[in-house]
Symmetry: C2
Subunit: 346 residues, 2 copies
Amino acid sequence: PTPENASPRSGQQLDSPSIAERDTLSKRESGVTARSPMRLRMEAFIKENQQEIVRALEALDGSQRFQVDKWDRPNGGGGISCVLQDGKVFEKAGVNTSVVYGTLPRAAISKMRVNHKALDPDVENLEFFAAGLSLVLHPQNPMAPTVHLNYRYFETANQDGTTNAWWFGGGTDLTPSYLFDEDVIHFHRGIKEACDAHDKDYYSRFKKWCDEYFSVKHRGETRGVGGIFFDDLDETEKDQESLFAFVQTCLGAFLPSYLPIIQKRRDMPFTEKEKQWQQLRRGRYVEFNLVHDRGTAFGLNTPGARIESILMSLPLTARWQYQHEPEKGSREERLVNVLKKPVDWV
Amino acid sequence: PTPENASPRSGQQLDSPSIAERDTLSKRESGVTARSPMRLRMEAFIKENQQEIVRALEALDGSQRFQVDKWDRPNGGGGISCVLQDGKVFEKAGVNTSVVYGTLPRAAISKMRVNHKALDPDVENLEFFAAGLSLVLHPQNPMAPTVHLNYRYFETANQDGTTNAWWFGGGTDLTPSYLFDEDVIHFHRGIKEACDAHDKDYYSRFKKWCDEYFSVKHRGETRGVGGIFFDDLDETEKDQESLFAFVQTCLGAFLPSYLPIIQKRRDMPFTEKEKQWQQLRRGRYVEFNLVHDRGTAFGLNTPGARIESILMSLPLTARWQYQHEPEKGSREERLVNVLKKPVDWV
């Protein structure tokens, strides 16, 4: 049985409530407080931030509002997709939250055990919870960079419904079509500050991880100029409170790290040729997301997943031109050189 | 070791020549005749057809010539990529041939053994040969359909350099943005005639296989309105001569099956809205090719592969629009309905 088709109860004893049922009850009885399970605190946190980010981006774009779609999943959970399309500043901007209660089949459990030894290898399937905020902004102006952000929390349940394994993942990264060093430095500086407030090693570890993860392997290029990426941060890294605090700081650092850049670039003049170069870079973005991104692949392979929310990360328009080569010494060539050999920006 | 990095000799006895060496010698000594190994006959056949197709498409487009790139592979073989871009009739047209001599690692052999029991499961790697012609035409006019075709021959060598397993694969399929039933019927009729000349069961078997293979699973749609697809046709199907004759008939049927359609649609009037719908359908084409197509995945994962030739199948331009729904009763909706439930056209 697939995760979605399996009964939400199949991973547990019949006399214990599912975590979805526990969470519904807990929210009704006492709301969400600092003493609630991390699942509910993370859900509340990402939803607040989604609203704040959507408001800020609407104010910035000025031309139109986000379309807001709320959807429920049959086995518990659901999501809110906020998408602004063909705006004045943004060609496409998606800010999604999703909360999933489901069951993992044995094959998925075996894969996850590589990083989480607490997972029981002998069960047929396992109840899980996942909550995350994902954001991708594709600006109209080719001088303004695309940005991506995702923070997520994952948990599995024991047979009796108590927490088994849990971890945080996420990051943020910048994808310019034209390189303005000052923008990239500003972006990295903001993230580094957020990291440094929690652990002096985080920025360099997660910056490297980002360059490795966002690699368009078949092109020998990174997707963009990086940022941070991390996954599987669990009790072997730090306690749950500390990691939640870290994720909170990171997400809080997003608007100050990106808004000054888009404000500076949104109205810059550009040529038709520069617009075409942006479209070609958008094609590479599509290549990464459809060929290499694990999150996208996981989503597309999940029966019953909301495809439109997963693929909101794709740009409104993209281009593939056979054998396109940037001119020697051009700004386009400089970008590609940086993508072939990641730079330490701060 | 990966197929490309391994020595071309590692799968054989040191005193026997590689199949690449045998083929070079054979071509030099006696040219390619009906008594040559199938490898050389298939190579000659696809190259002749590539030239003929390129000439016909150039004559049709009228506005420009194909860019022709010849490339060699370090371990033997090579390819010819012919691409016409931003023409009067074609937004992008690619007609490629490739000939590959390489070695398969054990993991790849195990996968192939499912269909070819002649493959020795106990060797560490195996010399192989692959030759194929691939073609994708994306017209400018949204009333004119995209078409794809691929015919290929695969062979593995015994330790002494003689032929071990061999098989043919291929097919052709049509992807319209707007449905003209008469076009689809003409296309399918041409293929059916080609199939019927060899085996009365082929068309219905390979039509079904095509609908199954070109499925954009995450959308619940087929990529287009089908055609034929087959793979692994070996001696358990028919003898080598018969199968080669079948592939020859199929490839020969291509121009008559497609040219009348493009001639009829190339200059039809269309609106900006219809052009946008074409762009959205191009987005779906990209989704299939990058997420589901086994040939593309194999190519992108092959170290040293020529990425530009593999990705010539992608359209020049594509579009992803959040939550786009065709209007009730529209032509766009009718297309989507057909893609959700394949039709028997002839």
